[in-house]
């Protein structure tokens, strides 16, 4: 059962994580300012709370699921090496050594 949940991809790349954080902070701060001004004008603090909760809901929708816009800068991994025995296992070590020399 849990493996089904684990198989759902939820990750964002690094730039996407930064973007998501900026988006939710911006939305909540803007809704807080709007809610504070509106509540102060109509003299109802309850509306301030509702507007901040609405901002919370919108930012949940925008930043919790890993939308494609948060996955546009994937890390470029090394290509997967064929899993074999013997000679080919030494190759990655050679590659590492070469990189160190550079």
């Amino acid at each position: 059962m849990l493996s089904i949940f684990n198989s759902i991809p939820t990750h964002m790349d690094y730039k996407g994580q930064k973007l998501a954080e900026q988006i939710f902070q911006g939305i909540i701060l803007v809704s807080a300012v709007i809610g504070f001004a509106y509540g102060l004008i109509i003299e109802q603090f309850g509306w301030t709370v509702y507007i901040v909760l609405a901002g919370f809901a919108v930012s949940c929708l925008l930043t919790l699921p890993p939308w494609p816009m948060y996955r546009q800068n994937p890390l470029s991994w090394q290509p997967a090496l064929p899993d074999t025995t013997g000679e080919t296992q030494q190759k990655p070590q050679e590659n590492l050594k070469k990189k160190k020399h550079k």
Partner: protein, 180 residues
């Protein structure tokens, strides 16, 4: 920020901090406001009895009955940081044994959104006006004041006394009714 749960955590924590800051803002915008309004108290009838006080000193004590009119406009008190007002009418007087006696005669809760124009006529006191002795008879200066607790959404719980009070002299003898 890598998984849904860690994003939900930071989102929730940030929202909660913002909400706390807004609540503090709500408090600070109303903290220095004067919540006193003029109150018009009028006493129409005073009656004095001398009865057994079984809760007090087991002697005959003075029991006063006051009929009063009350009018006040409470609208200026209410703002976005007020949930309700607890109004109470208290009598203050001096006796030989005590420099200050305070007795609450009547109270009322005014919730937000309710009628804020108080206009009460011929009200009887809700609670017994017992003196702990015989200090009410012929007491020339019994002062009625209305005060209120302001119950806020956030912040302090101010206790405000309304401006305007009424001083009544009490009758010289028991079981007599005096109209003013």
């Amino acid at each position: 920020m890598n998984t849904v749960l860690s994003r939900a955590n930071s989102l929730f924590a940030f929202s909660l901090s913002v909400m706390a800051a807004l609540t503090f803002g709500c408090f600070i915008t109303t903290a220095f406001k004067d919540r006193s309004v003029p109150v018009d108290i009028h006493v129409s009838r005073v009656m004095l009895k001398n009865v057994d006080d079984f809760t007090g000193p087991r002697e005959r004590s003075d029991l006063g009955f006051i009929t009063f009119d009350l009018s006040a406009n409470l609208q200026p008190i209410f703002d976005w940081n007020v949930k309700q007002l607890f109004l109470y009418l208290s009598a203050e007087y001096t006796t030989k044994t005590n420099a200050l006696n305070q007795v609450v005669l009547w109270d009322k809760i005014v919730l937000r959104g309710e009628n804020t124009k108080l206009n009460l006529k011929e009200m009887k006191s809700k609670y017994f006006f017992f003196d702990d002795g015989n200090g009410l008879r012929a007491n020339k200066n019994i002062t009625l004041t209305m005060s209120w607790n302001v119950v806020p959404n956030a912040g302090i719980l101010p206790l405000v006394t309304g401006s305007g009070h009424m001083s009544v002299p009490f009758p010289e003898s028991y079981e007599t009714t005096k109209s003013y």
